[in-house]
């Protein structure tokens, strides 16, 4: 079995599941902020 790195999970689980999930969860919010800021600047 793969060696566990943090919180009892293997490295590939962090790289393929945990980190991508966190990034994918934050992206819509950051995109919304960027779009609104751009619109505010254009007005």
């Amino acid at each position: 079995m793969d060696s566990l790195i943090w919180l009892g999970l293997p490295l590939k689980t962090w790289l393929l599941i945990i980190i991508p999930t966190l990034i994918a969860g934050i992206i819509p919010f950051i995109t919304a902020i960027i779009i609104n800021k751009r619109d505010d600047n254009n007005e």
Binding site: L9, I17, I26, I27, T31
Partner: protein
């Protein structure tokens, strides 16, 4: 105190809340714009509640919790990441779609491409897909009701009329108002369950260590075994191979991005800022909720490595509540499941009604329709749609998560490319849109009819190794771009004449 009595108390409390909140829509709905999109005037808080309530369906609640219990962390890769990436596309869409004065998503196709054919066909796709989708919500509701009140499944699914039809009668104003309480219940019920299950493990590390050691049958007598280490493996030790996960993204992620039940929330938000922030903030809340779902599914697997007396993945969460959650909390968590089923199915039933009445009936009818009578017809269609879904729920599928992906694949293959292409690509033409829409849909249907790429994944589930959404979206995109480029010059000449 008697468990059924406590559950009945929660059930009555929920019913009163829904009756009270739902009645607002009856008084405030004056026309079809109010009925379909709440007058296009929903504020940020209500928009987040209704977007989140619609998003978090029984598929997420029962299907995903059960899938995490059975497949471990790979279930997240299979679904949640795709959903969140789909949400990212919806934020991009929100920044542009708000500029169109429309009441339904199929109407976008008529306005943008001047195509009644596309509006009517899109309406038909919604009717068929949503009936099948609502029936899995009803199934979830039935499972929960029979567990909550100790009544037969069939009686449980009949009770859904009380909620779905009532809340849908008041249009989106009622749906959005009741979604405030529904989303609150969903979030608090799941976070509470996750917290309780995690507390039983001691720590996250301990829970992960324990699940990595599990080597047992999933359901007693199913002959489906979990290998040691597979629950923490991203591909479940090969049981869920990368191709299955990648192609599932096309169904879940792109299907979500093209699904009218989310796009309609863009139209109902009061402005562009509200629409984009609605999606961004809801997904952050969902991140917390899905983390709780993981704790529930994995924590339960540690405590009960082999579940007894179950036939499907969807029965796992109610089983967890029955066996692991203290009685004083179980009724509360069970009504949060009802909230998940109600908040999604009433939104879908409303879109079903708009597809029948607005996108199809009004387009093919030569008579001028009285607007008051039109609202009555819409409400009548709500009853018809609910009844059809109810009948289908008598013969439910084994896994809502896999079944849901099949329906989403149809939206990804047909709606996605003409919708996003129409909003973002200047060279998109009517002929290109029709070719992409029809080509993608037919490709997806061919994969379904001939079961191309279909195979049993485990003794308890079967799925498409190559989800039909993948070839569907590819063909749709190919046709859309090729035909648009060929007809773009001609369309320009036509416009200038």
């Amino acid at each position: 105190m008697n468990k059924i009595f406590i559950n009945m108390f929660y059930f009555v409390f929920y019913t009163i809340l829904i009756l009270w909140l739902g009645k607002t829509g009856f008084n405030k709905t004056k026309n079809d714009k109010d009925f379909y999109v709440a007058g296009g005037n929903l504020g940020l808080f209500t928009s987040i509640s209704t977007f989140g309530g619609t998003w978090f369906s029984v598929v997420s609640m029962l299907g995903l919790t059960g899938s995490v219990y059975v497949f471990g962390y790979s279930a997240i890769l299979y679904s949640v990441i795709g959903w969140f990436l789909g949400a990212f596309l919806i934020v991009l869409l929100a920044s542009k779609l708000k500029e169109y004065d429309i009441k339904t998503v199929p109407e976008f196709f008529r306005v943008k491409y001047n195509s009644k054919y596309m509006q009517i066909t899109a309406g038909l796709i919604i009717i068929i897909s949503y009936i099948f989708y609502i029936h899995i919500q009803i199934r979830g509701f039935g499972i929960v009701m029979s567990s909550l009140l100790d009544i037969p499944y069939t009686l449980g699914i009949f009770l859904i009329y009380l909620y779905i039809v009532y809340t849908t009668f008041g249009g989106l104003i009622s749906v959005a108002r009741t979604d405030i309480i529904n989303f609150l219940l969903i979030a608090s019920g799941l976070v509470l369950s996750g917290f309780l299950l995690l507390k039983m493990q001691g720590s996250i590390s301990e829970m992960n260590f324990q699940i990595s050691q599990i080597n047992s049958e999933v359901f007693k007598g199913s002959e489906f075994f979990t290998e040691k280490g597979s629950l923490v493996d991203p591909f479940n030790n090969g049981l869920q191979p990368p191709i299955l996960l990648i192609s599932s993204f096309f169904a879940w992620g792109l299907g979500l991005a093209a699904n009218p039940q989310y796009a309609i929330r863009i139209i109902s938000a009061k402005n562009k800022k509200t629409a984009t922030m609605m999606v961004g903030i809801t997904v952050l809340i969902l991140l917390v909720i899905y983390t709780s779902v993981v704790f529930i599914g994995l924590g339960a697997r540690v405590l009960i490595p082999t579940a007894e007396g179950l036939n499907s993945i969807d029965e796992i969460f109610p089983y967890i509540i029955d066996n692991l959650i203290p009685v004083k909390f179980s009724g509360f968590i069970l009504i949060s499941m009802i909230a998940a089923a109600v908040s999604t199915s009433n939104s879908q039933l409303l879109i079903f009604s708009s597809a029948v009445c607005y996108d199809i009936y009004e387009n093919i009818s030569s008579k001028k329709i009285n607007r008051e009578k039109f609202l009555t017809i819409n409400r009548f269609v709500v009853i018809i749609g609910g009844s059809l879904a109810l009948l289908l729920a008598l013969y439910p599928p084994k896994s809502t998560l896999i079944y849901g992906a099949k329906i989403w694949a149809i939206f990804a293959s047909s709606f996605l490319v003409p919708l996003y292409g129409g909003v973002f690509w200047k060279k998109a033409t009517k002929k290109g849109a029709i070719a992409g829409f029809t080509g993608g849909l037919i490709t997806c249907l061919i994969f379904y009819i001939f079961r191309l790429g279909y195979q049993p994944v485990t003794p308890i589930t079967s799925d498409y190794l190559i989800n039909p959404a993948l070839p569907g979206v590819a063909i749709s995109l190919l046709f859309f771009i090729t035909v648009s480029l060929k007809t773009y010059e001609g369309d320009l000449k036509g416009e200038s004449m």
